[in-house]
């Protein structure tokens, strides 16, 4: 059974709208939680890295630098967690109606991206207020974010399938995200000589490093991102989208019976 692209698009949109509606019914602060969470971590990290471990002091407006990385990171970790659980959470639905099931992990990512987009607007306003004026490179944030969404969707498809077979996957993702956070240039910048050269070249292989570098360049610095960052982002995105859709397509008939 196949569904037209228009049907898939309609379903994806409906699922995203549902996700957003459900999340903010009965929540007073609503969307602002998405901003409050990174703001809160920003305050914690700023205190830790400028008062306790003196490290962040070398970076101007360290809090804003942190926030620039924390917003996409929070989007990444929230999307990965929820898309990993998306198939298992919809067991009954999958077992009783046919629909394009790829929409489930992807809808989680898209719903979170709405938050990211709004939060980025707030961030940009704050950056301008503190004298970090944007350049024309600001527009590059849009394709970078779209690629990030595609990359996370690909990862989510793989993990969602894995989670159906082994419930350990969702737990594992949560634990790995903790390590992943420190392995990503969020609390420290790349290319500034602040981390040892060996560590820096290792961190560049992190699928998120390219994206975070682009965000730092375009938003925080207002300059042009380095070429390696684009190479990394495009490469990893292609990799995860191709592998993710292939894995999902192959596993789908089996997954439905396993659920």
């Amino acid at each position: 059974m196949t569904t037209s692209p228009a049907g898939t698009w309609l379903l994806l949109r409906s699922l995203v709208v549902k996700d957003l509606k459900v999340r903010y019914k009965r929540s007073v602060l609503g969307f602002f939680w998405f901003l409050l969470k990174p703001l809160f971590s920003m305050v914690v990290y700023t205190i830790v890295f400028t008062r306790i471990i003196r490290f962040g002091g070398e970076i101007e407006h360290f809090s804003l630098f942190l926030l620039t990385g924390l917003l996409p990171w929070n989007f990444f970790s929230a999307s990965l967690n929820s898309s990993t659980r998306s198939l298992l959470d919809n067991t009954r639905l999958i077992r009783s109606v046919y629909f394009p099931r790829t929409t489930l992990p992807v809808a989680e990512v898209v719903a979170n991206s709405v938050h990211l987009a709004l939060a980025l607007c707030v961030l940009e306003a704050a950056l301008i207020a503190f004298g970090h004026y944007p350049g024309p490179s600001l527009l590059l944030v849009i394709p970078a974010t779209l690629m990030l969404m595609a990359m996370v969707s690909g990862m989510g498809m793989i993990l969602a399938v894995g989670n159906v077979f082994y419930r350990d996957v969702a737990q594992l993702v949560e634990v790995l995200l903790l390590a992943w956070f420190y392995a990503s240039p969020i609390i420290y910048p790349l290319g500034k000589g602040l981390v040892p050269a060996a560590v820096e070249s290792a961190v560049r292989f992190n699928p998120l490093s390219g994206l975070l570098s682009i965000f730092h360049s375009c938003l925080y610095e207002g300059g042009w991102p380095p070429a390696w960052a684009w190479l990394s982002l495009v490469g990893w995105t292609l990799f995860f989208v191709l592998v993710g859709t292939a894995v999902f397509r192959r596993a789908e008939p089996v997954v439905v019976k396993e659920l």
């Binding site: 049907g7 077992r95 008939p253």
Partner: protein, 399 residues
């Protein structure tokens, strides 16, 4: 391209994997990497199934448990993909497999209708047109703006049924007897399904309720172990199926009637009747079942604190109900020599069919099993009375 409503199964096989121990599966798969064999095996639910349904036909799929009926419906709905062979269905398929399954409790009735429309591939504009009709049929016009978590289960199912059948399907899949809402709504559900039958849409119906099958369907496909046993009109297939299933029941040793116990107290005579005292084995929904028993004690002694339990089993032996007067805080029996006693049972029957009633006299405190009659009394429990094929609207006598 075949006409909408056409269904075709060509040499379809479907395998499930069965795990002997799911908890070990991560360990197991790590072992598999090192070439150890797996503890899972496959089970063939459908084995070379071939049949075709023309537009407008209403077909029932019958068979014992595990015959592959539900698997066939899931393949038809596109939920499963066949392991081999091809399944094709032309046109929009609506399934009444699990009503209201896509509903989110926090969303309102109307929001859920839109969301479910999207699942079926219908846009918001189309659903807006259908919404009044859906609400009206479900009798929920005033509740479409309330979150469905405030709905009763009846309202929930009504909306589910109304939605699934309002989208103008070419093929309607119905699993088991529709236990939707109250009797009057149920009869409206059946009316709607009957009207589909008249309007040239294809219906595929899976049921254990032979009465509904013969009323609704013009053709019956009898499956067993994933294969077609017989395919024909209800008149041809049903009598043979019924005699085969009663033979199967008799042959199946696990549910043969058994009688055992110490017999300090025993059932000397047992009679199953309806509430008027007429002996009966078939009961309609809502009718009360009366077990009238003469209980005797050995040597005419006085035996106190007797627990009288009963159980209802499916024909494969699975216990559906099992309870006694101790658990329900009813008085315990005392037998002095002999006692005429009655047990009155009221049942709700969401799944009509054949069942077995068992009775027991015990004393759990003193660990005594006085007398057990396992799987002893066959019962036929029928669904609620449904719409008759013809209903009188009114009649007048003039002169």
């Amino acid at each position: 391209m075949a006409a909408p409503g056409t269904v075709e199964f060509r040499d379809v096989a479907l395998d499930y994997r069965i795990y002997h121990d799911r908890t070990l599966s991560l360990m197991e798969s790590v072992m598999n990497l090192f070439g150890r064999s797996s503890s899972s095996e496959t089970f063939r639910a459908l084995d070379g199934l071939t049949f075709a349904v023309a537009p407008g036909e209403s077909v029932a799929i019958i068979g014992p448990n595990g015959a592959g009926k539900s698997t066939t419906l899931k393949l038809l709905a596109g939920i499963y993909e066949p392991t081999s062979g091809t399944v094709s269905s032309v046109g929009r398929t609506a399934s009444l497999l699990d009503l209201g399954v896509g509903f989110h409790p926090e969303l309102t009735g109307a929001e859920n209708v839109y969301l479910n429309g999207a699942l079926l591939g219908l846009g918001r504009a189309r659903m807006e047109e259908l919404l009044p009709e859906i609400a009206e049929f479900a009798q929920l016009e005033r509740f479409m703006d309330s979150p469905v978590k405030y709905y009763s289960s009846g309202m929930f199912m009504r909306l589910g049924f109304s939605l699934a059948t309002s989208v103008d399907p070419d093929i309607l899949l119905v699993d088991e007897v529709l236990a939707v809402g109250d009797a009057s709504f149920q009869s409206r559900c059946y009316d709607r399904i009957y009207s589909y039958r008249g309007s040239g849409r294809t219906i595929v119906f899976v049921s254990h309720d032979m009465e509904a099958v013969s009323r609704l369907c013009g053709r019956v496909i009898w499956l067993d172990r994933g294969k077609v046993v017989r395919d024909g009109s209800p008149g041809e297939v049903l009598p043979e199926y019924l005699s085969s299933s009663s033979r199967r029941r008799a042959e199946d040793g696990s549910v043969a009637p058994r009688e055992w116990g110490s017999r300090e107290v025993w059932f000397d005579r047992v009679e199953l009747t309806d509430s008027t005292g007429t002996p009966r084995r078939r009961f309609r929904a809502g009718e009360r079942l009366l077990v009238r028993a003469l209980i005797r004690a050995r040597g005419g002694e006085r035996v106190e604190d007797i627990v009288w339990g009963f159980s209802i089993h499916r024909t494969d032996g699975e216990t559906v109900v099992g309870v006694n007067n101790l658990e329900l805080n009813r008085p315990l029996l005392t037998v002095e020599g002999s006692l005429e006693a009655e047990l009155e049972i009221g049942l709700e029957v969401p799944e009509p069919g054949n069942y077995l009633l068992g009775l027991a006299l015990t004393d759990p405190v003193r660990r005594r099993d006085y007398h057990w009659l396992d799987y002893h009394f066959p019962l036929e429990l029928l669904g609620p009375r449904r719409t008759e094929p013809v209903r009188l609207v009114d009649a007048e006598w003039r002169w």
